[in-house]
Symmetry: C2
Subunit: 471 residues, 2 copies
């Protein structure tokens, strides 16, 4: 039943009971709205509860309670003497600013993105069910910043078994993905006196941003077909280095064995830290994945992984195997920034790892991405034979190096954007874009499976535009 | 079938095929272990693949592949000339440091902790199922730092309906709980020139730590039975204030209507920001919850809530309704620190809100906590009548003020610890502990439901020890 009444200023307030919450709630809501919108002005005297109750046809107690509630909230106040008046000014409902919002490309070949249609919904639901059935009460209390201990146990087994990482659950920290890992590490290193961090070049630009935000200086290491080159470290003053040994983050090389040894020796000599960003090593196509370099120097290397490529980046779950000397400072930093990472995702992923369904999912995805890679390289070989393909042994992207013609990289990326097709030019990954070798990075993980062939056809159409220069 | 061979140094390496991964994996694993443990030393020449294959009774290709894998990982290297030798030093498996680990108290009356046995496992599972069935593919792609849009829509409706917050989905940010909210806000405010933040005193000490870490100076506001007092703000230079209007974070007062108006007027005049920490307002026992003060000044007040009290702190999910001027800077900061918050928790909670099961859960918990509060206050009135109880109108804790006798607070807290019973003395929540009024804060949310009565009996036993001074 709708109610209405006429304010002292002569305008009508209509009061419609809100879903299931009755007359009092409806009255309160109408009064709040009347005050917020200025139809009831500060100082305006409200009718007595008796009068308003009669006017609305409700019990007097309803009005008394509504007045009392709105007094507690600051909308009304008792008048000197007696009665009730409006206490609060009209309020403009906030309007959201127009945020710059990049339109999502229709066809996505960006780096570091797994197939969003591949998230194993059924397996995940089963894992959540099992986790909810078996989790102890204490899992739902305040969790430690280090992460759930059963998950760390599952993880330590997983990274040991699949990546050769030498660690134990007490040395592991669960966090919100690699960016958070890197931030926690940079801040912990800065706090213990580190000043300079080395990054591979090309790199993921966000990593430089994180290092700089933590107050570190950044130097860069050249990368060739054997991975990052350690020379600059040996003569420099860096306190830490971020490496992508399994699949160089942009160019795709596997870090050569001698280089691994050189980096490890440098870290030992300089008491420095190596951060091993093992971002997509599960997907190795020509052989079994090359083991993590962490095991060569577990006292110097932080091993960092995540489920962003194997399950979904939207899960925001990652992990580190830490050298003993860094464990307590990094955990403490995690406690300070956000207390810990969502426990339910941890419990579910622990289930998936322990039941083997995670490994099965990864194997199935490896087959899927292997096929995608082969289709992509075959297409490029066919329509753009002058593009030299690199970095195909592993991961979710490859690099297509271009003939050295002025502006060709920019032209291709621009033409792609014109076709709502997202590609990334290699210059974007360089510390100094002027030094970049022309080429494009093509992430073949991002298109959903049902759209992969059509996405590839669109890419073929794009490359066809440049056939005079690429074939 | 186990295999074994004798190294050049005369020791035996035993090779047992690892679960399902076959001989090659077992051989690789044995070689890695042999090198890591020093049984195979750097420079030691490995048998030829032919000889080792014969010795082990495996195909020669198996040994060739294993050697190749270990070369890629840096354990072995090709010798000048021919053959293979050990490349890597023995590695000591890292040992975790003994971290200081506080033993969990058996009986937990600490603040801000909901009943861990109350997590609605069945409802959550159903919500996850529905979310997994209905989520679009794009939910599993890289998520925006602001949080899932369908969750923000559900949240904007929820905080509007239950807390009177005036906002819209585009003004909301999903994050990892209040500590992260406060950190993001302090950093964003500092970046735009803020220098000083005011906290209520008593306060949650972690909030001071977060503000200081962000580079802000902290001043404190006195608190009385009407909540925080604004006087010091009016003469001071603060750029922001953290308030707990619904239930002062320790003493439990509801912020009085005139105070709300004074804080809002101060913020408008000084172009300052009010951070409304609405940490447990859902649990109001004497009336319906007092609406958020955000609605009095949505352009100045950040409303911050979380599911830490209504569901579980281990979920690490919280939200803010932001003034339009802060939206883009806080979102950008969230992007930089961790990219976003786990999407699956967001999707599940959105389902719970939209189907009404979240509201039903909150109502059921309110009844549970109401009963607990009544049992607790009745017990205190009975056994310790000289303790004055305050802050009972809402939330998950109350305050028991003590007769002003030297050291009584410390004695009670120490005696409690001796009984594995966790209570907190009020001094711990003061900027200057010397200024504290003696008393203890008792969180009645923390004990699991099945243990509440026995926990209360333990507390009664403790207070009985002090009956000469408390009754």
């Amino acid at each position: 039943m709708a109610m209405s009444w006429t304010t002292g200023r002569g305008s009508d307030l209509h009061i419609a009971p809100a879903g299931g919450r009755g007359r009092r709630a409806a009255l309160e809501s109408a009064l709040r709205d009347g005050i917020r919108t200025g139809r009831l002005r500060p100082g305006e005297v409200m009718p007595s509860s008796r009068a308003l109750a009669a006017q609305l046809g409700v019990a007097r107690g309803t009005v008394v309670e509504a007045y009392s509630q709105l007094q507690a909230e600051g909308y009304l106040r008792a008048r000197r003497g007696s009665g009730t008046e409006v206490a609060s000014e009209a309020v403009t409902a906030p309007r959201s600013p127009r945020l710059p919002r990049a339109a999502a490309p229709l066809i996505d070949f960006r780096l570091g993105r797994p197939d969003p249609s591949s998230f194993p919904r059924r397996l995940w639901l089963r894992a959540v069910r099992e986790a909810l059935q078996s989790a102890p009460e204490s899992a739902f209390g305040p969790l430690g910043p280090q992460g759930d201990s059963s998950f760390r146990e599952a993880l330590a087994g997983y990274v040991g078994r699949t990546r050769g990482v030498l660690t134990e659950p007490e040395l592991m920290l669960v966090c919100g993905g690699f960016i958070q890992s890197l931030r926690l590490l940079c801040e912990a290193l800065r706090a213990r006196g580190a000043r300079t961090i080395a990054l591979e070049d090309p790199f993921i630009p966000d990593h430089r941003e994180v290092a700089l935000a933590a107050g570190l200086e950044v130097i860069t290491l050249d990368v060739d077909e054997h991975g990052a080159r350690p020379e600059k470290l040996l003569r420099g003053e860096a306190d830490a280095v971020v490496l992508t040994p399994a699949h160089q983050a942009v160019l795709g090389a596997t870090l050569a064995p001698e280089r691994r040894a050189e980096f490890a020796a440098w870290a030992a000599e300089r008491d420095a830290v190596i951060i091993e960003d093992d971002y997509d090593a599960e997907f190795r196509y020509d052989r079994q994945p090359v083991g993590a370099m962490q095991a060569l120097a577990p006292d110097r290397v932080v091993y960092a992984g995540s489920a962003s490529k194997t399950l979904a980046p939207a899960l925001r779950i990652g992990w580190m195997a830490l050298p003993p000397t860094l464990v307590s400072s990094v955990i403490e930093r995690k406690r300070r920034v956000d207390r810990g990472t969502s426990v339910l995702d941890q419990l579910a992923l622990a289930q998936m790892i322990e039941t083997g369904s995670f490994d099965r999912h990864v194997r199935a995805m490896r087959r899927r991405y292997h096929r995608r890679r082969d289709l992509l390289t075959a297409m490029i070989d066919r329509v753009a034979p002058r593009m030299r393909i690199a970095g195909t042994a592993a991961g979710l992207h490859l690099v297509a190096l271009l003939p050295d013609e002025p502006n060709l990289e920019d032209e291709i990326v621009d033409a792609a954007a014109g076709r709502s097709l997202a590609l990334t030019g290699l210059a974007r990954f360089r510390h100094d874009p002027q030094e970049s070798t022309p080429g494009i990075a093509i992430g073949f993980g991002a298109p959903p499976e049902h759209a992969y062939e059509s996405s590839l056809a669109a890419l073929e159409g794009l490359l066809g535009e440049f056939s005079d220069r690429l074939s």
